[in-house]
Amino acid sequence: MKKIITVAACAAALLQAEVVGVKPVQERSFVQSQYIPDISLVFDASYASRNKDQDELAGIVIPGISEDVFSQGEGDGHGHSHSAYSSNNGFNLNYAELIFSANVDPSFSLDAIFHFTEDEIGIEEAYFTNTTLADGVRIRGGKLLSDFGRLNKQHPHFWDFNEAPLIYEGFLGYNHLNELGVQVQYTLPLDEYVMIGAELFQGQNEKSFGNESIALATTVDSVEIESAPAPSMFVGYLKTSFDIGNTTIMPGVSYVYGQSRLHHDHGGHEVAFDGKSSLYNAEFTIKHYFDSYSFLTWQSEWMHLDREGDEYHAEDPALPIEKEAQRIKQEGYYSQLVYAHDQNIRIGARYESIYKNDYAFIEETLPSKPFKKYTAMAEYHFSEFSRLRLEYIHNNALYKEGAIGFESEDVNTLLLSVNFSIGAHGAHDF
C-alpha cells in the first residue's frame, strides 16, 4: 500500500514538473499575441444579368452627369480604384475589404481599411481617432470617408442596396467623399442628439473637386490652369436625432465647398474646368422598431450641386482653345423603404431621380426629362455574418450618344449578390 502511494506521489510530482515546464501563454515573457488588433475581412461578390450585352453597356452615359456608367475601374490617378460594383454581366468579385482596428495607446485608436479588387489594393481608410480629449469632441485624421450626408461614411457592405444612389455616383463618383484630411465633430451637451462637424480635406474627388494644375494644348494654342492651394475642400454638417417611442427620427444637413480643377478627355476632345463647386445635402431617416429584430426604415437624401467657373475646350488640334463661362446646377434625390421582417428576411425598394441638369454652356442638347432609377431588393441573412441579396434594377437614367443627340437606353439588371464577413468586425453605428 505504502509503495503504491509512493509511486503515485512520484508520478504526480513528475506530472507536476511537466506542467511547470511549459508556461501558459500569458506567462511567456515576450509573447505579444494578446496585442493583435481586431481584424476582419468582408467579401462581396455577385452575379448580374442584364437586357444588354457588355459591348452595348460600354458607351452608356448619364448625359451631363456621368461618363462610362459601367466603367471597369481605370481609376482617377489618385489611388482610387473603385469601379461600379457588379458592372460585368455574369460573375463579379466586387471587393474584399481587410479591416484593422485597435487602440494605439491611452490617447488614440487607429483604424485601417484596405480595399482589394482583383488586381489592385487601395487604402480605403486609414485614420487615427482621439480617445481622451474630453467633452464630446472627436478628432480624426488621415484618409477617411466624410460624414457628409447619410450614406457617404457607410461602407458598401452596410448599404441596403448594391449600387450607390445616382446623386452619389453622379456628383461624387464611385469613391464618394473619401479624402485626406482632418475631421472634428462635437456632440452638444443636450438631452437630444445634436452633432456638428467640420472637415478640411486635400480635395481630390474624382468627380467634382480637384486642385492640381492643368495644361491644355493644341498645335496653335495652349492654356495653363494654375493649381489651387491645398487643402482645397471644406465640409460642414449638422445632424440631429430624437426618439418618439420606438421610432427614431434623424434629420441632417451637410455642405461641401471646394476648388474644382477638373480635366476630362472625351476621345480626343479635352475639357478642362477651373472653378469652384458647392454641394448641398439634406437627409432624413425615420426608423421604427417593432421589436428587437423587426423594423421599417424610410431614408431619403436630396442634393444640389452648384459649379461655377471657366470651361476650356480643346477639340480640334488645328483650332484655338475655346473658353466659356460655365455654371452647372444639378439636383436630385433618392428615397428608400426597407422592412426587416425578422433577423433573416429583409425587403426594400428605392426610387431615385435627378430632375435638374442645367448647363450655362453646352454643345449637345441634354435630355429634358428627369433621370430616374427604380430598385427592389430581397435579402436573406443566414446569420449576422452572411447575406444573400436578390435585386432588380430598372435604370432609365441611361443614354447613348447617337447621330441626332442622346438616345435613351433603359437597362434592366437582375443581381444576385453575397456578402460575408469573418473575424472581429466592430459593430456599426445607427
Binding site: 491611452p106 485608436s109 481617432t129 482621439n130 480617445t131 481622451t132 480629449l133 474630453a134 467633452d135 464630446g136 469632441v137 472627436r138 465633430q185 456632440t187 451637451p189 443636450l190 438631452d191 437630444e192 442628439y193 445634436v194 452633432m195 445632424k239 436625432s241 430624437f242 426618439d243 427614431t248 434623424m250 422598431y289 421589436d291 428587437s292 429584430y293 425578422d342 433577423q343 433573416n344 446569420s383 449576422e384 455574418f385 469573418i422 466592430g426 459593430a427 456599426h428 453605428d429 445607427f430
Partner: protein, 292 residues
C-alpha cells in the same frame, strides 16, 4: 413600468453623479446602493433582446453626459455599446477609465468555450454572459458596485456601505424564499430558446437539455426542431422556458407536438409589464417555474 420610467429621469435634485448602465437590472442594483445620491440612465430596454439593442443616436447624448458607465460585459454589449462609447467622446465612459465598470470581470463565468469558431454559432468567447439570473450573484454584483461608487464618490462611501448592508439582509431573506420555492424542482429537465437561463438553472439545479435555436444566434431549423421533439419525449422534459423577445412560433409547434408546457421567462426588469423590480423578477421566475 412606472419605476422603469423613474430611473430614466435625468437629474434628481440630490444626485452627485450621472451613472449610465447598460441594462435595467444594473440600474436597480445601483439604485439600491446609491439611492438618491446618483441619477441613473438605463440604455437598453428590458423587454428587448439584450444582444441586439438599437444603437440609436439619442443614447450617444445620454452617454455624452454621464459621469460613469456600468456594463454587463462578457461581450453581451459587443454589438451595440462600443460605437456609442466612441461616438460619445466622453473620457469618463471609455473602457480604460476608472469610472467604467465591467461587471463580468468580477465573477466566475460558466460555459467558457475552450476554442471559438463561428461555425458553432455566435458563441460568447468569455463564457455565458447572463450571470445576473443567478440571484446569488446579485449580492456579489451589489458589493462590486458599492466599491465602484465609493471609489468615485468617497464622500458618501459610508452611506453606500450602509445601503449595501441593508440590501444584503433584504436579499438574503428573499434568497431563502426562492430557494424553498425551487427546491422541489431540482433536477427538472427544461428546454430554452437560447441558453440565457444557464445561471438560473445552475442555481436551482434545473437541467437544460436543449435549445430551440440549433446554435447560438442561428434561427430554428426544421431538422433541429424534429430532434428536439424526440429529446423532449425521450427525456420527459417538463417545460420550455422561453424568453420574451424571440418569436414563440417554434415553441408553440413543440407544445402542439409533445404537450410540453410553455413558460415565458422574463430576463430583466421591464421584460414583462408586471416585472417592475429585481425582487419582482426573481419572484416571477421562481413562481413561473414552480407553478403546476
Amino acid at each position: 413600468m412606472k419605476l422603469f420610467l423613474l430611473t430614466l429621469l435625468p437629474l434628481s435634485l440630490f444626485a452627485h453623479m450621472n451613472v449610465a448602465v447598460s441594462y435595467p437590472y444594473i440600474g436597480a442594483i445601483t439604485k439600491a446602493i446609491a439611492k438618491e445620491h446618483v441619477s441613473i440612465t438605463v440604455l437598453a430596454k428590458g423587454n428587448w433582446d439584450p444582444h441586439f439593442v438599437v444603437p440609436r443616436p439619442s443614447l450617444i447624448s445620454k452617454l455624452r453626459r454621464s459621469d460613469a458607465l456600468i456594463m454587463n460585459g462578457a461581450q453581451l454589449e459587443i454589438g451595440w455599446l462600443p460605437p456609442l462609447i466612441r461616438r460619445s467622446a466622453n473620457v469618463k465612459v471609455q473602457a480604460q477609465a476608472k469610472s467604467f465598470l465591467n461587471l463580468s470581470a468580477q465573477l466566475e463565468l460558466i460555459q467558457k468555450p475552450k476554442s471559438v469558431d463561428r461555425s458553432l454559432g455566435d458563441v460568447h468567447p468569455d463564457g455565458n454572459p447572463h450571470f445576473h439570473l443567478n440571484p446569488n450573484n446579485i449580492l456579489r454584483l451589489a458589493q462590486v458596485i458599492t466599491g465602484f461608487l465609493s471609489a468615485l464618490d468617497e464622500e458618501h462611501k459610508v452611506i453606500y456601505e450602509k445601503n449595501l448592508e441593508e440590501f444584503y439582509l433584504f436579499w438574503q431573506e428573499e434568497l431563502k424564499v426562492w430557494e424553498k420555492r425551487m427546491e422541489p424542482k431540482r433536477g427538472m429537465k427544461v428546454i430554452q430558446f437560447h441558453d440565457n437561463l444557464a445561471y438560473f438553472n445552475a442555481a436551482y439545479g434545473l437541467n437544460s437539455i436543449g435549445t430551440i435555436e440549433p446554435l447560438p444566434g442561428i434561427s430554428p431549423s426544421s431538422r433541429h426542431t424534429l430532434s428536439l421533439i424526440k429529446a423532449i419525449k425521450e427525456q420527459k422534459a417538463c417545460c420550455i422556458l422561453h424568453d420574451v423577445y424571440h418569436s414563440t412560433k417554434t415553441a408553440e409547434y413543440l407544445v402542439n407536438k409533445t404537450g410540453i408546457k410553455l413558460v415565458i421567462m422574463p430576463h430583466d426588469i421591464g421584460a414583462l409589464d408586471s416585472v417592475e423590480s429585481l425582487k419582482g423578477l426573481f419572484d416571477y421566475l421562481t413562481k413561473a417555474v414552480s407553478d403546476d
